[in-house]
Symmetry: D3
Subunit: 259 residues, 6 copies
C-alpha cells in the first residue's frame, strides 16, 4: 500500500490519501488500494470510516486520472470503471463514511466526497466540477448525487461554469454539513465519529441503506434512459471530447466547437 | 381531553400539548386525542392549524412513548401504529399545518414537526433524531420526510449521530422556515396563519395534496421494498433492539454489539 | 418585436423584457415573441442565454396575464397554454439560461425564473407566488419546479401565504444561486455567462438534459394523476376561482368561501 | 330501485341490470343505484359479487350514456364522472366481483366488465370498444385496464377498429376467464362464487388490493402525464368530437376530418 | 443430499425432487439442499438448469411446508424465508431454468414453477394456488410473478378460488410454454435445453437479467407499500390466519369469519 | 427508391419490402428509405399504414444487416442506430400500423413487427429471435416490446432458444392478432385497415400514444439502468460477440465459451 494509508482505532477507520506528488489522483491503482483497504477495515470492528487527506494538504484529491480516460468512442464513466465502482462501494458500505475535507477537491473527487454520508470542510476546502472543461458527458447516477445534496440550481452552476466553489459557497449550497476552522477540523471530525460508534450499528446500517435507495429512486422509463445514453454517446464520440482530453494533457485551454 | 387543549379562533385552529409532566410524549392516548381534536376542529371553519406546546415549554415533545414500543419480533413503526397514523393525518389534512416550535423536539416528534407544512422555531428549539440510540430501524416514509426537507447529508448526520441539532443548525439545514425570537414566536406564527386564512382554501388544499404526492413519489420496485422490510426485520428481531429499549427504560447507556 | 428586445454578443444571448407599462406581464403576445426570439438566437452561436428586465426595473415581471385566464370550467394551466409552453422551452433549451433578477417577480414569472438554470438576484428582487390569492389550482409540473429548488417546506410557505419572499429569504431558501449588489448584478451575470461559453457546449447540453429528466422523475401512477386532475378541476370549476379572477381584475380583495 | 335489482344469498351478492328498454345503459342514474346497492350489500355478509344482465339478454350493457357526454371543451372521462367512479368502486371492493356476461357489451360497459376480477362469457357475449367511433379520447387508467388483461396488440385492435370482438376472439385474447355454454353460464358462475365464499375473505381482500396496485403501477412523470392531458384536451376540444356525438345521437355515420 | 438429486451432463444441470413421501414439499431442508446444489452445479459448466420431479410423479411439489409457517403475528412470507429465497435464486441465476412439470403443483411450488424461465407441462400437470384456503396474505413480489405470466384476471381466479388449474387451462392462461404428452415430456425438455446450451451464454444471461428487472419494474411509492404491509399484517395477525393453519394441519375444512 | 415500394390509396398507406435478393434485410439504406417513405405518406391523408412483403415472399425480412453490426467495443443497439430509430418511428406514428406477415421474420424484423400495432399472419409466418445465436446483448426497450405482447415466459423461450416460432405457436403466444389463410391475408388486412380509416383519427392517435407511454412505463432507477448497460457492455466487449458475428458471416456454427 503506497497511495493511501489506513488506520483503525476505537472502531473508527481512516483512509488517508498518500500521493501528494500526483495530487491524490483517483487512479485505478489508488482506487484498487481503497477497495482492498475498506475490505480489510471491515474485518475489524469498524463502525465509521473517515476519508481524508494528510494534514496541511493543498489538494484533497485531483479526481479522475485524465490519462486513464478512454479515447473517443467509449463511455468514460461506465459502470465498472474504477471511479464509478468506488462511489458505489462507499455508498453501499453499511456504516457511515465521513469526508474530512482539507484542500481543493476536483472532478470525480467531488463525486467521491458527495458519495460520503457526512461532509466536513474547512476554509481551504474548495470544490470544482470539471467535466464541462474536458468535454465529458457526466453520467446519470453521478449527477443525481449532486442534485440530492445541492438542489438543481446549485448543481447546474457547478457543472456549467466548472469553477471552484469556495468553502463558504459550498456550505451555503448545502454541500457541507459543517464548515470548521482548519485547526479544529480533525478534532471535530473524530469526535463526531466517536459519537456514531456508540449508536446501534444495525439501526444505522439499515437507515443508510434506505436513504441510498430513496435518493436513487428517481426512476426513468427504458426509452428515456436509452435516449440519454444516446445523447451521452454522441458527446463521447465527438471531436470536442478528444480536444478536451488532449488540451488537458497538454495543459492548454481547449477550443470547443460543439462538434 | 387532558393531554392536549384545542382552540379555534378566526379560522385558526390550535392544538397545544398539555402533558408537561411526561414531556408531551406522543403516547397512543395523546395521539388519539389529537386525531379527535382535528376532526372536531374541521367541523368548524378551520383554515389553518397550529401545533404547539405551551408558552415557556422546555420540551416541545419527547416523541414516541418508548414504553409502547413492541418487544423484539414486531415492527415498531407499522402502518397502523398511532405515531405513523397521526403523521399521515397531518399530511393529508387539506389545510396548512404550522409547527410552532418552542423547546426540544425528540424522535418521533421530529417526524411530527417535519410532517407539518411550515416550521417556525426560536432559540430554544432543538431537534434530536433518536432511533440509532435505541436501535430502532426507522421506516421508509419517515426517512423520506427528512430527506425531502433537509437533503440527504443533513438527514444522515441527524440519524447517525442522534445528537440534537440546535435552532441555528436546523435553520441552516433548511428544517426551519423561520427562526425568530422566542418573544415574537407567537405573534409571528399567528400573523402568518391569519394571512393564510384569507387565501383560497380550495387552491391551497389541492396544492398541498399535490406536494404530498410529489414528495412521496420516490417509487421502489416490490423486490427492493421487500428487501428493505427484510433488513428492517433483522434489526427489530435483534438483541440490540431489545438492549436499546431496555437501556432507555433503565436510563442507562446501551451497549450495542451489532447482533 | 415590441415587448422584448434581444441581443447576441460573444455567444451570449440576452432577452430583455420591454413592457414596463404592463409590468412585463407574460401575456401570450410576449411569450410568442420570446419563443421566436429564442429560435432566432439559436441560429446564431448562442452558448448561454440571459433573461432579464431593463436596468432599474421595479418589476422583473408581473407573471401570468390574469385577463387571459380562462373562465371557470377550463384548466388555467393546460399543457399548451403559452406560459406552460415557455417554461418547457427554457428547460429544454440545450444551453444554460441565467435569470438576472432585478425587481419583483410575480406568479408565473416565479415559475419562469425557477425554470432557468441559474438565478442571480439583487436586493430589489422579491418573489411572490400568487395562485392561492386568485384561487388557481397550480399544476403538478410547476409545483415540482419549486420543490426541486426550495424543498417542500419553503415551497409550501410561498404558495400558502402568497406573500413576497425578500431577496435574503429567497437566498436562504436556496432559490438564488447568488445575491449580489444591484450595481454589480450585470457584470456578475455576464462574467459567469462568459465563463460558461468557454466550456464544452456538448457536455453542458447533455448534463442539463439529464438534470431536467432526473428532476422530473417523480412518477405517479395513472390513478393518482387522474385523481389530482379531478381535484384541480373541482377548483377551477368553483365559485371561488371565478371570485378570485374577478376580484383581481376589479383590484379588490377576494372573499373566498371554499365553494 | 328500478334500473337494477339486487340479491344476497349464501354470501353471494348479485346486481342485475334491469333496464332492457335502454339496453342497460350506464347512465348516471343507473350507476348511482349500483353504488347504493353495493353499499347495502356490503352491510350483509357478502363475500363475492356477481354483476349480470337478466337471463336471455341480447345486450349486457350499452355502456356510457352518450346523451350525458359533455359538449366539446370538457373532459368526457373525468375522475368524478359516474362511469369512472363505478369502475373504481368495483376495483376497490375488498371482495371478488365476477362479470357474468350474456349479450353484447359496449364501450364503457367493456371497461366495467374488465374492471371486474373474473369474466365469464357465453356464445352470445361480444365486446365492442367504441370511443374511436365517437371521437372520444379515452383516459389513461381505462386504457390500462385493457392492456393489463389483453396485452397491447389486442387492446389496440379493439380500440382502433371499434369492431365487436366475438366470444371466441375475446377468449383467445385472454379477456374471458371462461367461455361456457349459455345454458350453463349461471350454474358455472354461481358455483365458482360459492367456492370463493368458503375461502379466507381477509386473504382474498389483501391479494385483490395488491393486484390492483401492481396493475396500476405503470407510473409516468408529471410532464408526461400533462402532455397526455394536453393531447386529450385537443381531442375533446375538436370539431370531430362534436361530430362524433352528434352523429351518434342522430344515428348516422360520422364524418371525421381530423380537425 | 437426500431430498433432491442432481445431475450435470452436456452442460445441462438437473435438480430432481426426491421426497415423494412428503410430496416433495419445499421445506427449509429441501430448499437448503437446492441452494447448495445450484452452487455446486454452477461450478461445472452448466448452461441451463432443469427442475423436475421423478418420472411418474403424481405430485410435482406440495409447496410450502405448512408446519413451518410462523404462528400469527409474524409475516409468513418474509424476505429471508427459505421459499422466498429460492425464488430469487432461480430468477437471478444467469442461465435459463426450465420447469419440467409432471404432476400437481401446489401453493409455493406454483410460485417456484413460475419463477422458472420456461414451463413445460403434460396432461398430469395441475396448478393450485392455496393461500386463500389457509388465510395467508400472499406477498407483493410473489403476486407479481403471476400477473406477469397470466395477466390479472387469470391470476385473480387462481388466487380467489384456490382451485386447481388443469393442464389445458394453464396452457390457455399462458402459464405453460408447452403442453406435451407425458411420454415425450422428458425428450422435449432436454432437446430444448440442448439447443439453449449451444447459444451464447453471455447474451442469454444479460437478456434474462433485463427481463427480470423489467418484469419487477412496477414501482410503488413508500406510502403505498407501507399501506400494503399494514394490510398484510392485519391478515397474519388475524384469528382466521391461525384457523387456516390449524385446520390444514388437522386436515379439516377451515371456518373463516373475516376476523 | 429501390429497396421498398410505397402506395397510398383510400387513406391506406402501404410500404412493401422490395429486396428479395437480400431477404428484405433491414440495412441502413432500407431503413432510410422507409423513414422517407413514411414522411411522404404522412403528407397525404394516410390514416393507417400497412407494412408488408410482396405476395408469395418466403422471407418477410431477415432483420438486422449483420454486416452493419459494429465490431466489439461498441453497443450494437444504440439509440441512434437505424433499426432502433425505425422502431421508434413506427411506434410514434400517430396512426395505426399493421404488420401483414407472410414468410419468415428474423431478429430485428421481429422487433419491427412487434412495434407495429396490429399483427396479422398466415401459415407461412414464422418468428425467430436470433441475438443469442450471434452473441448480441439485446437492449432494454426492445426486450420490453416482447414482454408487453407475449408475457415473460414466451419471450424468454424465444430469446433463449433462438428457434423459430411457427405461426400457430405465435398465435398461441399472443403475438398475432389474427392467423388467416395466406389467400385471404391481403383482403383481411386491407378490410381491417379500411374500417380503421372511418374512425376518428384524433381519438385513435391519442389512444395509441397513451398505450405507447403506458407500455413503456416500467421505470428503472439510474443505478439499475447503469448496471444493465455495464452488463451489456461486458457482452459486446467479449470474445463471444466477435465469434458470433464472424461465424454468422462465415455461415458456420459459432463456438461460444462464455468469455
Ligand atoms: Ni426526488
Ligand atoms: Ni405492467
Ligand atoms: Ni407492466
Amino acid at each position: 500500500m503506497a497511495l493511501i494509508t489506513t488506520q483503525l482505532q476505537d472502531n473508527i477507520g481512516t483512509i488517508t490519501f498518500n500521493n501528494p506528488k500526483h495530487r491524490n489522483v483517483l487512479s485505478s491503482a489508488a482506487i484498487s488500494e481503497m477497495i482492498q483497504a475498506i475490505a480489510a477495515l471491515q474485518k475489524g470492528k469498524m463502525r465509521v470510516l473517515i476519508l481524508r487527506a494528510p494534514k496541511g494538504s493543498k489538494v484533497w484529491s485531483a479526481g479522475h486520472d485524465v490519462h486513464e480516460l478512454p479515447m473517443p468512442g467509449r463511455d468514460p464513466l461506465a459502470y465498472n470503471d474504477p471511479l464509478v465502482t468506488i462511489l458505489r462501494s462507499i455508498q453501499s458500505l453499511p456504516i457511515p463514511v465521513i469526508a474530512m475535507l482539507e484542500g481543493s477537491v476536483w472532478g470525480g473527487a467531488c463525486d467521491l466526497a458527495l458519495s460520503c454520508d457526512i461532509l466536513i470542510g474547512c476554509q481551504s476546502s474548495s470544490f470544482c466540477m470539471t467535466p464541462a472543461k474536458i468535454g465529458v458527458p457526466y453520467n446519470v447516477s453521478g449527477i443525481l448525487h449532486f442534485i440530492n445534496i445541492m438542489g438543481v440550481n446549485f448543481a447546474k452552476e457547478m457543472f456549467f461554469t466548472a469553477e471552484p466553489l469556495s468553502a463558504e459557497q459550498a456550505a451555503k449550497a448545502g454541500l457541507l454539513n459543517h464548515l470548521v476552522d482548519v485547526e479544529s477540523l480533525e478534532d471535530f471530525t473524530y469526535e463526531m465519529a466517536a459519537k456514531i460508534t456508540r449508536n446501534s450499528p444495525l439501526s444505522i446500517g439499515v437507515i443508510k441503506e434506505q436513504i441510498r435507495l430513496l435518493a436513487s429512486a428517481h426512476p426513468l422509463s427504458p426509452l428515456t434512459f436509452e435516449r440519454i445514453q444516446g445523447l451521452r454517446r454522441t458527446v463521447y464520440d465527438s471531436k470536442d471530447y478528444g480536444e478536451g482530453i488532449t488540451a488537458f494533457l497538454e495543459k492548454r485551454t481547449p477550443v470547443f466547437t460543439g462538434e
